[in-house]
Amino acid sequence: MASDGGVSCLRRPEMMNVGIGGMEHPLLDVDEVHVLAVDDSLVDRIVIERLLRITSCKVTAVDSGWRALEFLGLDNEKASAELDRLKVDLIITDYCMPGMTGYELLKKIKESSSFRQVPVVIMSSENVITRIDRCLEEGAEDFLLKPVKLADVKRLRNYLTRDVKLSNGNKRKLPEDSPPSTLSPDSSDSSPSPLSPVEIFSSPPSSPIDDDNVLTSSPESSPSPEETPVRRQKMRSPGLD
């Protein structure tokens, strides 16, 4: 079905596996997924790092928005050619941090030409609708309620191979319909171009993501409604809660 949208994606070899039903194990990526994790709490950094590693991501964990910008080379005006080689597939950041909040970091990333295509996920211990909306409007890919669980991270993992996975009638739209040539020059053209949040979460709450999810097969990863309260809320029209 919509898997044709993945025409330009680097993960084409995996698409061959999609037709073989009953995936027992996660698809292996051609390139390893690299995640930049930002959290001022050491405990949380260790946990998120482990969660990501277990889902086969390479992780760089930093303790502040400033360090994140530094890592990305966005902390000065100089447009460095080296940035083309820095491959970051996902940025996951805590919201409440001293100095620069996750929201401010999100804005800076979305303002940058080199990294605005990279999906940014916000984590927060507080389920504040206005906060969530603000982040999503600013271009955040998703908003995770802490404490983060394995199922949450497995779901995130799917963003990065979304084009592969969407062959089985999953109603989520593919962002890859837009030409990839406009995306940043390195291999992160697997990152979706910015979509309005409503499009991203267009699948109805009742459709378990796991059905179409070839990356996860363990029962624990089925996102029950309680596990993804934020996303469910976002999917409903405002005013319902």
């Binding site: 709490s41 050491l42 405990v43 946990v47 482990r50 211990s125 404490p147 669980k149």
Partner: protein, 155 residues
Amino acid sequence: MDALVAQLQMQYRNYTASLYQQGFLDDQFTELKKLQDDASPDFVAEVLSLFFEDCVKLIGNMARALDQTGTVDFSQVGASVHQLKGSSSSVGAKRVKGLCVTFKEYCEANNYEGCVRCLQQIDIEYKALKTKLQDMFNLEKQIVQAGGKVPQVDN
């Protein structure tokens, strides 16, 4: 030897289950255990160890902030409480987290006595958890040393 292993395993099961039942631990602790494997067999113990260090540090901050002769900066206390609430939540330290929620309310209400009480309780609580978990980890060690496998207990 098998009888010993079986006995230890039963002890372990009961003990761990009681930690959940008594509210020391919650689901998130179970989540942490999922992240442990043969390659990282001490992951949970390591994270909890970091958490307890965090407790010492943050409780120290809170105590200092509350110890001001003159006006107490409740937002400063609250900032540390917020951090402790976060990390206790991340490791499944249910009672500590619950106390942090109450503590935060007292901070917001600028309630000095309430804050001092919470501080005392949190200090007691994290130490109690630390002892309980040490006992739990010891049982795990004993099981492994006796040649057995640590049973999975997910309450």
